[in-house]
Symmetry: C2
Subunit: 435 residues, 2 copies
Amino acid sequence: MTAQSSRLTYDSTTPAVKDVDAYMDGLGRAARQAAVQMRRSPTAVKNAALSAMAEHLQSARHRVLEANQRDLSRGCDQGLDAALLDRLALNDARLEAMIEGLIQVAALPDPVGEIDGLRARPSGIQVGQMRVPLGVIGIIYESRPNVTMEAASLCLKSGNACILRGGSEASESNAAIATCIRQGLLDAGLPEAAVQVVATTDRAAVGRLISMPEYVDVIIPRGGKSLIERISREARVPVIKHLDGVCHVYLDASADPQKALAIAINAKTHRYGTCNTMETLLIDASLAEEMLPALAAAYAEHGVELRGCERTRAILGGIVSATEADWHTEYLAPVLAIRVVKGIEEAIAHIERYGSHHTDAIVTENYGLARRFLAEVDSSSVMVNASTRFADGFEYGLGAEIGISTDKLHARGPVGLEGLTTRKYVVLGDGQVRQ
Amino acid sequence: MTAQSSRLTYDSTTPAVKDVDAYMDGLGRAARQAAVQMRRSPTAVKNAALSAMAEHLQSARHRVLEANQRDLSRGCDQGLDAALLDRLALNDARLEAMIEGLIQVAALPDPVGEIDGLRARPSGIQVGQMRVPLGVIGIIYESRPNVTMEAASLCLKSGNACILRGGSEASESNAAIATCIRQGLLDAGLPEAAVQVVATTDRAAVGRLISMPEYVDVIIPRGGKSLIERISREARVPVIKHLDGVCHVYLDASADPQKALAIAINAKTHRYGTCNTMETLLIDASLAEEMLPALAAAYAEHGVELRGCERTRAILGGIVSATEADWHTEYLAPVLAIRVVKGIEEAIAHIERYGSHHTDAIVTENYGLARRFLAEVDSSSVMVNASTRFADGFEYGLGAEIGISTDKLHARGPVGLEGLTTRKYVVLGDGQVRQ
């Protein structure tokens, strides 16, 4: 689905699906029916299915790794690049992590049925909001086969039915994992169609999956930006998007230098390829002279290339000039753009103009500026004196994460089980009628 | 925009907007800028604007009514039907209600800035969710000019900028009201572009408004089903939908006959034209023989026409047979479909198959069945022993209502100020970095 995988034309394991639309409709219908049963499934039954899946995966270890080997050698033959092959590869440690993940999801509290804010109204009725599953979730992802199990477990625990469409390069691995999922569902007495893995690599299947509002309530695409953009543009059902991030750290004039240094280094260098990594550092003019040399020395130790605005270059010297394109770029690499700004107004304006509304942080000891940054920066996560790397479902205590949403409607920020649910109003009366 | 108004070709008051796309882009750009200022506007300033609007509307009474007279006489000339003219008409009482509405919205608590669930994490950071405006809201509606003021006030109070596109038949009334809105904004020092009323009746303006994701965050269509369906289909931004309702009341075997009678009568006869009115009554077989005659007598008093399933007709006699189409129909009229069902399973299956996921109620004294109905019926409001007519923002205590959403993502059920906001994560740290 990315530039890379679009070159793949493999379909040797594709079952004979002649009419893709009819096949997808069949999955949709079955999912819609399964969703009715999932909606009413008790927590214990859902947890039993998750535990059974873990056991089946444990016993099928050998088979899953063999299937993965076939995917890998086919991928090698087709000349997939090393990064893609690494994402595709399963091994004992990754299988162990999948099993551990199932056990962790089983241990999470069930969000379904929780009633918030039940209050009495003057009419005598009580009104509250009950958390309920979304219904049928379609998930479209790329090469990593462990996503199959992860997505299945989160959809199941949140009481949804799901249709999973993985990358064609992982088709044998995904089919082997799907078998474990199906066995787990059957063991617990849940419908097989609660989790369906699309068994054709025909790309028309994706087009159909995102165009069945009668069967699918929401689509979650996981993958490269171009895949997500295309799906958002073409989908006829709502899409929960998990976009990349152009994240900022702003070092205010009153920043504690120790905290500023620690956060600016951690936000950039803790991991380069994640969406919550800082890509642009904004530094207050009054601090620049004093702090930039220390920062540059620390970045040099990590091998981070710096690109600066004119004022940054005047202080540091010998670094590349940041172009307009740099302020827009998510490097996902040891590269950092640096801009000297005059105060919080200019910092917020820069973030508003160039940011991707993902995660932005201020380092400051000024109470008023902290409050202002929190209120005015329009991103899915806004932080004071903390590294942007904390924007993560586990760090936030969600217990799980299916991705990070930069959308404004529904889930925003790290999405855990709650983002896979919605709420409905419940009204408890005693015979009340409207006057 | 409905079958009715699509016949209108009036554009005598349309200002000379030659390039509609460029004009709408201009509104969008201005709204996006205004949204930045609205996001940071204190509650007191927003309330001051609302009060000032109320005063300006008070002093402009005469001018607004004159403009409305011009709309009405033009509508008469063009042969608009009586119902449409009634919705279009303003008078002293309706103006008073608009003024009162502004004062009430000013008195509501400001949802913006509220932080939920702030909790400490093992890393030492504190994480919570802050309620923030959506940004720019586009509202598309039909003949009622009072919607202009109502939509403006709710968007303003929730910290959003908005672009309002009313019906062309109300263009002079809307322009007069827009003047009061603009004056109120200026008095309070808020940007004029915080509320913009589209000043062209060219229908291409709607097409553009729903296709500017760079400027508009969400579209709320209010009007007939065909308008809403078309907008949902064509929009390139998220749509919060306010659809019609095929609402059910299920009288279970254990229902208290007094409550059953009161609720079944109120849900149907309290008002016929509202989306939360019951359209189909489901009655348990064991209750049918005893209760149907009493119900039929009460409905006869209200002049409600009954259409029944075979079992209903066998008991009542002389009523029309309900066809498959009846179970799908929102009558919005004194007509009721009745079906005898065998137990809750059949009742829920009927609602799942024919309902519109709006509002459904059970009347029962059985604790287990009440719990089951609440959990399993997948509608935006689910009720026990209360009339479906309670599904309403004011009855639920939201203090306001811009409509009722039957969507699953974001707002669901009656939508008040909270539905016009979203949440972002806020992280408060003290220099923490990710380990």
